[in-house]
């Protein structure tokens, strides 16, 4: 289990170095995205106004305070459950060159193949640790699609963002798959002994 520090946007080479279970801290720029944002891109066919190539996407709907036109201050920014958004994994990698998706609770196994094919990773964050996460966001630099508030496209500048674990790597490895498989086996034993 290695430890890494990465700056986003990142390259395919950076991503291929990561293995499921590794610990990662992130600097640079990350993009906040959620259910409605991705429904607009993929189901309603609207091109995202922010560049997603090499991007780190965070599953979030932040609590913010509006300071002026297009300008927001972060109040409490946390991370939502990722599994609901798994079907967007393939097109995010294929069409836009997204490199990382970050959320809580993991992505189901159907994300493994697109991540292997397109050189992407899933990062697991500590769910609910929003007070801490907020301190790692230096600034909200841009907001697009404000009509979807709070499910807009957000561009955050972050420092020491994490800790994050590589939940799914770009080589077919998934920590969530392994933990669930072991737990199912354990469950059978426990039930047999009840």
């Amino acid at each position: 289990m290695a430890e890494h520090r990465l700056t986003f946007p990142a390259t395919e080479e950076d991503i291929r170095k990561l293995r499921a279970g590794d610990l990662v801290t992130v600097d640079g720029h990350i993009i906040g995205i959620r259910d409605r944002t991705q429904i607009r891109i993929f189901d309603q066919g609207q091109e995202p106004p922010l560049d997603l190539s090499g991007a780190f996407l965070l599953h979030t709907a932040p609590n913010v305070r509006r300071l002026g036109p297009g300008k927001y201050e972060p109040l409490c920014i946390g991370t939502t459950t990722s599994a609901r958004m798994v079907r967007f994994t393939e097109p995010l990698g294929e069409r836009y060159g997204v490199r990382a998706i970050c959320g809580k609770g993991g992505l189901p196994d159907e994300a493994i193949e697109p991540m292997r094919k397109h050189g992407m990773v899933y990062f697991a964050i500590v769910g609910g640790a929003a007070a801490l996460e907020t301190t790692q966001i230096e600034e909200i630099e841009e907001v697009a699609w404000e009509d979807l508030m709070p499910e807009c496209l957000w561009k955050f500048r972050v420092k020491d963002f994490g800790p994050l674990w590589v939940g799914i790597d770009s080589h077919g490895g998934s920590l969530f798959h392994d933990v669930q498989e072991a737990a199912q086996k354990r469950l059978e034993e426990l039930v047999a002994n009840l």
Binding site: M1, G21, L23, T60, A61, P62, N63, L75, C76, I77, G78, T80, T81, A83, K104, G105, G106, A124, V126, G127, G128, A129, A130, A131, L132, T134, T135, P150, P163, W165, G167, L175, F176, D178, V179, Q180, A182, A183, Q184, R186, L187, L190, V191, L194
Partner: protein
Amino acid sequence: MTVATDLQQVVEDTAAHLYVWALKDIPQDLRDAIAAAVERETSVPGRRVLETIVRNVEVAEERQNLVCQDTGIAVYACRVGEHFPLHPARIYDALKTGTERATVEHPLRSNAVHTITRENTGPNTGHRLPIVHWEFIPDWDGLDVKCVPKGSGSENMSFLKMCVPADGVKGIKQFVLESIVGAGGKPCPPGIVGVGIGGSADYAVYLAKDAITRPVGTRNSDPVVAELEAELYDLLNQTGIGPMGLGGDVTVLAVHIEHADTHMTLNPVAVNYQCWAARRASAHISAAGDVDLDREF
């Protein structure tokens, strides 16, 4: 009349205070349980997750920020004395207005929507929101109010099974185990597993929610039920799901069971999951309107 109106204001102010307090400052019993979990956890990522949770709780306190971004659905548990001078209909009004005020004044994220149209219905209120659990106490003139903001990530991990009597208590244990393993990392483990057994289908689910409002690790007063709590706690922590589902020794902080007697052909079991951010704040209100804030129930 004047007394009742003032008392209604007191209950409203208390509700507004409890909602925000619960979101920012988690109770000591929960902090102790998380601290004990850090000591017990042997997996490297599991331990790091728990340390991050501890750090997050400290940061929330230092910065007066919310512990978690999900302000949840407002759930209150009320114990109303027979002689408390404000009718529960008015208590409900006060809890609703208090919830709205807290949401607007702080401000807090509002999560309440119409179930079909998904349109926002109000500042964390709506038709039948907030949710209140009532208990009525004879020979008493006070009111206890407990606010439990319930996050959706853990609420989505709620399950009901109508076991049959032939499944016995083994069926109950198996269902709880399968539910928690199936939930994996989604409800932000390690948390409190609330289990409701007996009664009817609806009542078992209601009791499971009651169970998660108890302070961490308190035992059911019925020794048979308490024994099942201890056994399930051991079993669940052998599943290896671990903190945030990344694998480890600590999958749950506690198992709380509430039960009701049931029909001879029924054996219902319900599970309600409460995440590590098991937020809870309570107050005692006297008939004269004195408020005593208290986290220990």
